[in-house]
C-alpha cells in the first residue's frame, strides 16, 4: 500500500490547513472576547491570553517545527512562551 494513501499520511498532509483554520478562528474569538460585555475584565484577559498561548504554541511547534527540535531547544522555546504569557496574565490580574 502506498504511504501517500494511508490515513496517517493523509492527515499529515492536511494538518497545516486544519491548523491554519484553527488559528484564524481563535483570532476571531479573541477579538469577540475582548469586546464582550458579558465577561469581566479579568475573565476576558484570562481567556484572551489562554487563546494567545494556544495559538503561539501551535505555531511554534508545528509551523516553526520546534516539535522536531532537539529537547534543549524545545524546552527553551516552550519556557519562553510560558514565561511571557504567564507574566502577562499575572500582571493583568494584579492590575
Amino acid at each position: 500500500m502506498s504511504s501517500a494513501r494511508s490515513p496517517v499520511a493523509r492527515a499529515r498532509q492536511h494538518a497545516p490547513t486544519v491548523l491554519w483554520l484553527v488559528l484564524m478562528a481563535a483570532t476571531g474569538v479573541s477579538l469577540v472576547s475582548s469586546e464582550s460585555d458579558r465577561l469581566s475584565a479579568g475573565s476576558a484577559s484570562m481567556l484572551i491570553m489562554l487563546l494567545a498561548y494556544g495559538k503561539a504554541r501551535l505555531l511554534l511547534l508545528y509551523f516553526m517545527r520546534v516539535c522536531d527540535a532537539p529537547a534543549a531547544w524545545r524546552v527553551m522555546f516552550e519556557a519562553w512562551l510560558l514565561a511571557i504569557t504567564g507574566m502577562i496574565v499575572v500582571y493583568a490580574l494584579a492590575g
Partner: protein, 198 residues
C-alpha cells in the same frame, strides 16, 4: 539538518533537528528574549497606571490588528506550504507560495501605515503618553523585522523561480520560513498585549 522530513508520505527516518541554519535559531532566541524584556517593561509600567493605559488602549483600532493577525497567520501558512512544495521538488509552487507570503507581509505593512496615520491624525503621538510610547516602539520594532522578512522572502522567491537551480538545498528557504514564523509568533503576543487586554 534540512531533511525534507515533512513531505507527505515521506518515509525517511525521523531525526531531531531544527529546520534551516542552526545559527539563525540562536538569533531567533536572542530576538525573542529582547522582545520579552520589552513586554515585561510594558506590563510593569501598565500595572503602575492601569487606568491610563486602559483608556489609551480603548482608543486603538483592534479591527486593524485582527486583520493583520489573519494576514500574518495566512502568510505563515503559505511558508509551510512553500517548504513542503520544495521538499517534494515542486520549485514553482514553492516560489509562488513564498511570493504569496511576502505579498501578505506587504499587505500587513500597508495596513500598519494606515493605522499609524489614523493614530497620528487622532493626536496619538509617540510622546502623547507612556502607552503610546510603548505602542509605537513595540509595533515599530516588529514592523522593522517584518520589512526585513519581506525582503528575504522576495529574494528567496526569485531564486526559487529562477530557471537555473539557484537554490539546490532547502536551508535558505527553511531559514527564511523560520524567521518569518518568528515574526508571526511575536505578533501573536503583541496583538493581545497591546490591543485586547482590558
Amino acid at each position: 539538518m534540512s531533511e525534507p522530513h515533512d513531505a507527505p508520505g515521506n518515509a525517511l527516518p525521523h531525526r531531531r533537528a531544527l529546520p534551516g541554519d542552526e545559527g539563525l535559531w540562536y538569533f531567533i532566541f536572542a530576538d525573542l528574549t529582547l522582545f520579552a524584556l520589552l513586554f515585561g517593561s510594558f506590563c510593569h509600567r501598565r500595572a503602575l497606571d492601569t487606568g491610563a493605559f486602559e483608556a489609551n488602549r480603548a482608543q486603538l483600532y483592534p479591527l486593524f490588528a485582527t486583520i493583520n493577525t489573519l494576514l500574518l497567520l495566512t502568510s505563515s501558512y503559505c511558508m509551510v506550504m512553500a517548504v513542503r512544495a520544495r521538499a517534494i521538488g515542486n520549485r514553482r509552487r514553492a516560489a509562488a507560495a513564498t511570493a504569496a507570503a511576502a505579498a501578505l507581509g506587504v499587505a500587513f505593512m500597508i495596513s500598519k501605515v494606515i493605522e499609524y496615520a489614523r493614530e497620528i491624525a487622532a493626536g496619538h503621538l509617540p510622546t502623547s503618553s507612556d502607552f503610546f510610547t510603548y505602542y509605537y516602539v513595540i509595533t515599530g520594532i516588529h514592523l522593522m523585522h517584518l520589512a526585513g522578512g519581506v525582503v528575504v522572502l522576495a529574494v528567496i522567491a526569485m531564486k526559487l523561480a529562477a530557471p537555473a537551480a539557484a537554490v539546490r538545498e532547502p536551508t535558505l528557504l527553511e531559514s527564511g520560513a523560520s524567521f518569518w514564523h518568528m515574526v508571526d509568533l511575536l505578533w501573536l503576543v503583541i496583538f493581545p498585549l497591546l490591543y485586547l487586554l482590558r
